[in-house]
């Protein structure tokens, strides 16, 4: 068993990773609650934005902040476009069908990215944010500003989204739609507009998460696209409903994942953390299942 000092640096990196998982998770939950779509292309649009930013900044020499805004804008635009085209077409279908349809978008984006930014060349791309260089130390632990931003973004977005859903008119409309889309429409809520807002919000979060993950993990289409599988774990623990639970689960998963690194016997298995925790949580939570036939499933 390694000493406590060995764990310390991993607390910081674990919290940062958890923060980004939380960021992704909150985006996924908001969209799912408003539209019933589990957006599996979350990682892919983020990766697309990050790769475009990389091209702009390193090849075209565009100033950094323009690149980052482009990343967020691209992710938002692609997500909104998909939502406007396929959202209404699939609105009455089973949540499973809606989720599988976003796999279609994932594959398209992944193919395009692999075509335009070939990975087989072996040249590793990297996207460094200026916040990597600065930082401070707590005790002996080096903390970069990017890590602070990752955790901070997770915290701020969770709190902000929670307040938004609770106190604003648009947020209330989203919560109403999560309960019943048809009745909400009857009450005079512009359902399509609210859905479009949710799509855009989710896309913007995907862009931010993509940018942070490209810096913290790797700028690689495959990794970033399928990293959504790991961040799904936190969403699943929250059963696609609670933002607070998503946040806590994400932080827990991120921490546990990184804290396993110094333990040599478990280090190789640490990537299992999100999957195992999600599986256990789902099984425990589903002990008492009632067979229901909701309108969505019919």
């Amino acid at each position: 068993m390694p000493a406590w000092q060995d764990f310390e640096p991993f607390i910081v990196s674990g919290l940062a990773l958890g923060g980004v998982y939380a960021l992704s998770g909150v985006g996924l939950v908001v969209l799912y609650r408003a539209t019933g779509v589990l957006y599996l292309a979350f990682g892919a649009v983020g990766a697309l934005g990050a790769l475009i930013t990389w091209s702009l900044v390193t090849k075209a020499g565009v100033p950094g902040w323009v690149g980052w805004l482009t990343c967020v804008a691209v992710a938002g635009a692609v997500t909104l476009g998909y939502g406007l085209i396929f959202g209404p077409a699939l609105a009455k279908r089973d949540p499973l069908v809606k989720a599988v349809a976003t796999i279609g978008l994932t594959l398209i984006l992944y193919g395009v990215m692999d075509l335009l930014w070939t990975t087989s060349g072996g040249q590793a791309r990297s996207l460094t944010l200026p916040t990597d260089n600065g930082g401070f130390t707590i005790g002996q632990i080096q903390v970069t500003w990017t890590q602070v931003i990752a955790l901070g973004a997770g915290v701020v977005l969770t709190a902000g989204t929670g307040a938004f859903l609770r106190f604003t008119k648009l947020g209330t409309a989203m919560r109403a739609m999560a309960n019943d889309r048809d009745i909400t429409a009857t009450l005079g809520v512009p359902v399509r507009k609210v859905e479009a807002a949710a799509w855009l919000g989710c896309g913007v979060l995907a862009g931010v998460a993509g940018l942070l993950l490209a810096d913290l993990v790797a700028l690689d289409a495959t990794t970033l696209t399928f990293l959504v599988i790991s961040s799904l774990a936190a969403v699943l623990i929250a059963r696609l409903r609670s933002i607070t639970v998503t946040f806590l689960a994400a932080i827990f998963i991120g921490l546990l994942h990184d804290l396993l690194t110094p333990i040599t016997s478990l280090s190789n298995y640490r990537d299992m953390t999100p999957f195992v925790i999600a599986a256990i949580a789902l099984l425990v939570l589903s002990r008492h299942q009632v067979m229901t036939q909701s309108r969505e499933e019919a």
């Binding site: 499973l96 599988v100 796999i103 279609g104 978008l105 594959l107 984006l109 999600a278």
Partner: protein
């Protein structure tokens, strides 16, 4: 209540096959004979290997198609199940001198046990949650396999020895050592697995699955043991995928955990949906899409990424407009095209009722 299902079956009364049925069987038999006898002679070794993969993956897609199309269970972890089958078969082939069919059977059964272990708790969930938990478990299995590694002739339980210099290839059956012979061997195994699925669909489990897919509460009310039949479907799919893994082990000779990434399960679901989940032909179409088209494009020097994009478009198209996939859509479109062409080529009939 059980008797109701039994009585509804037409199996008791022997019916004379109809003409379309006979034509259908005839075409299928001719096609199978062509594939078994002539195809390996006509193709280069590159395409023989590719078609062996098609045979292997047609088993995987038929199992997934059974789950998705017949029972309504979406699994996003079939590549992990395939990897388990391949691992078990490779371990047995290195450790024992058992005949190959026996190894395939054992690989299938052990994979089935693993599938049952996963399925027992997972099947309490349904719909989206079931799909996601299979994805989570597949992710976990992939991580374990990456650490344990595939057997390479070493000793111990894992059969992996990282310091081996001369890694022995995974053996093939003595009657099918060459590539064309092994292709025929895999096709025969695939035919047996398709037959196994067909038998299930045409008999009692198939009818129970159809009822479950329509409505679980209704099936429950009709006295169908929903839990048992779902588990049965899961076990059958795992068995078939495990056997496919065994065939894959011999086909490629060397297995690496990097060959079974979690995301391939997602692509596999995409092609299975594109091929069509309501017919067995759909599984063959899906396997051709998944293995043959990439090889073809590779030969032409076209990037396989175009294919990924095509799969993505295909999934969206299947889900929005053509739920039965290519296996259903293409014959219909061809028939429509045929009618259209006939209408163009023939002189327009002068019958007055056609212009009303």
């Amino acid at each position: 209540m059980r008797a109701t299902i039994e009585r509804a079956s037409p199996a008791r009364t022997v019916r004379r096959p109809t003409r379309p049925q006979l034509v259908n069987w005839g075409v299928t038999a001719a096609l199978l004979l062509f594939v078994l006898l002539a195809l390996p002679q006509l193709m280069s070794l590159y395409y023989v290997d590719t078609m062996t993969q098609v045979a292997v993956y047609s088993m995987v897609t038929v199992a997934l198609g059974l789950l998705v199309g017949r029972v309504g269970l979406v699994s996003l972890g079939q590549v992990a199940v395939l990897a388990i089958g391949a691992w078990v078969a490779a371990r047995l082939l290195f450790a024992t001198t058992q005949p190959y069919p026996l190894v395939l059977l054992e690989a299938g059964l052990i994979t089935m046990l693993a599938g049952l272990l996963i399925g027992l708790p997972a099947l309490r969930l349904r719909g989206l949650y079931l799909a996601l938990i299979t994805l989570m478990l597949a992710g976990a299995i992939t991580v374990v396999l990456a650490t344990v590694n595939f057997p390479n002739g070493g000793h111990g339980f894992t059969g992996y020895n990282g310091s081996l210099v001369h890694i022995p290839p995974i053996r093939r059956p003595s009657i099918a050592a060459s590539d064309p012979a092994y292709f025929r061997y895999s096709v025969v195994v695939a035919i047996l697995m398709f037959a196994l699925v067909l038998v299930h669909i045409k008999t009692r489990p198939g009818r129970a699955w159809a009822a479950i897919r329509q409505s679980e509460p209704a099936a429950l009310a009709a006295g169908i043991n929903v839990w048992l039949y779902k588990l049965w479907a899961f076990a059958l799919a795992s068995f078939i995928t495990g056997v496919a893994g065994g065939v894959l082990a011999g086909a490629v000779h060397y297995l690496y955990s990097i060959g079974f990434p979690t995301q391939d399960s997602i692509t596999l679901l995409a092609v299975t949906l594109m091929g069509g989940v309501y017919s067995l032909w759909g599984a063959v179409v899906a396997a051709l899409l998944y293995q043959f088209l990439p090889a073809l494009l590779n030969n032409w020097g076209v990037s396989a990424d175009w294919l990924i994009i095509l799969f993505g478009v295909g999934v969206l198209q299947v889900l929005t407009t053509a739920p039965a996939g290519l296996a259903d859509q293409v014959p219909k479109d061809l028939a429509r095209l045929g009618r259209f062409l006939r209408g163009r080529l023939r002189p327009r009939p002068a019958a007055p009722e056609s212009t009303k």
